[in-house]
Symmetry: C2
Subunit: 258 residues, 2 copies
């Protein structure tokens, strides 16, 4: 099982509201459709949901945000989701869109539903979910980031590899030099060259979620999503052109499933 | 609470594949956005999901249907769903799209999730769900019809009124005369003038689900979805221009909530 995050900064033009990067989406869809093992895909909001969440001052903390803002974020994410699943379908895959409300119980992960998502992948479909605005009870709502979904799903289904496809060549040792760290361990101090902070925590959140996954013994590969061949190569065991964050071994061996 | 089904034959042109009837969708969205009480909306697949389910020979019975067929139905329904929620958003409502995978556990209704859907409606959003193809375990899948969703949701949340907006003036006493039965009781023998059978059971299924709801003591109003003002009038207590199926009274009084 491979769990892949398609970053909002890769699949959309974050500088232009509601603008998908269709060529990037097509190329990534083609790479994912060609993988020879079960895949679960998660994507970010970029200039769709992320754009609206900023406009409506919505955050990952549950609060009484504007009801119209919640509806607008959800509507835009449903549209971006349809663009991604449409591209996967045309690339020859059998995507199985699963809005995040299908794998959450209000603010908590629905572990049984997430495990079913893995079974859907094993049966030959490619489950696709995404960051979104979600109801939290009463009049409260919250933003669930795609990065948070990655660690939720990774911990529940223990994929062989988690891939974060973003708009940078990997994790940089120093943002100014843009020198990629080829391999690191969970918790090592780092930075990336992807564009700054955003409502869902930006790079800090991305690295925190990656570290959470790696600490659970699962390898994380941070790769440039504009070079989908690097994902194909990494999954095929032909090297990691990006940053490989080794899952922490417990008792001398990896605590992971196939 | 009002539970409304927007028929696939109203919101799409069933004679032309993948063709939404945008003016009808806008008019219905405007009527629903103007209702002064909580609303849950369900819509059918029409020339989107229904079209593809016929092409791929998929049915309501769980079986090992073509995986690409499942993906294609789901992709088309996500697109139609986005058209409906987009129209509701522009009409001033705060739609809360909830793909049916969010309210099902494989082939069974997830009653807790359906009750949460009602709470989302009571908090000011308008939950919107739809008929779709769903995973049933293993390599099996099934078609969940919008009509089936109606009875599932009605029995779980007991709305004040269920509305079936379809492409006919109501239930006809005889299809040839097109004489509308103004009021009837659950189980009374009837027919409608809406176009024939379809994969999800067509009119027979629609009336069976209506009867199931009415037998539970909930009023069902069958109305022409091309005349959204009739929905507004019925909800406002200004008469039922269509067919009102009275919920069966238990012990002399209605067994329903507000």
């Amino acid at each position: 099982m491979i769990l892949v995050k398609l970053g909002g900064s890769v699949i959309t033009d974050k500088a232009r509201p509601l603008t998908p990067r269709r060529a990037s989406i097509r190329a990534l869809a083609s790479a994912l459709a060609g993988l020879r093992e079960p895949v679960i895909a998660v994507h970010g909001g970029g200039s769709f949901g992320h754009y609206w969440s900023v406009r409506h001052d919505m955050h990952t903390r549950a609060d009484e945000y504007d009801a119209r803002g919640v509806a607008t974020v959800k509507d835009s994410m449903a549209r971006l989701g349809a663009i991604v699943t449409g591209a996967l379908l045309r690339a020859g895959a059998s995507p199985y869109p699963l809005a995040p409300s299908s794998i959450m119980r209000r603010t908590r992960a629905d572990t049984a539903a997430i495990r079913d998502m893995a079974r859907v992948a094993e049966a030959g479909w490619m489950p696709v979910t995404y960051g979104d605005a979600l109801w939290a009870g009463g009049r409260r709502s919250f933003i669930l980031s795609g990065d948070r979904i990655m660690s939720m799903v990774a911990l529940a289904v223990r994929p062989r590899l988690c891939v974060f496809a973003l708009n940078a060549d990997g994790v940089y040792s120093d943002p100014s030099s843009r020198e990629v760290v080829p391999e690191m361990r969970a918790g090592q101090g780092v930075s990336t060259g992807d564009a700054g902070m955003d409502v869902t925590g930006g790079m800090a959140r991305k690295l925190a979620e990656s570290a959470r996954i790696a600490r659970a013994g699962i390898d994380v590969f941070v790769v440039n999503g504009n070079r989908p061949g690097r994902i194909t190569a990494a999954v095929a065991g032909k090297g990691h052109q990006g940053t490989l964050i080794r899952g922490r071994r417990v008792g001398g061996r990896a605590a992971r499933s196939s």
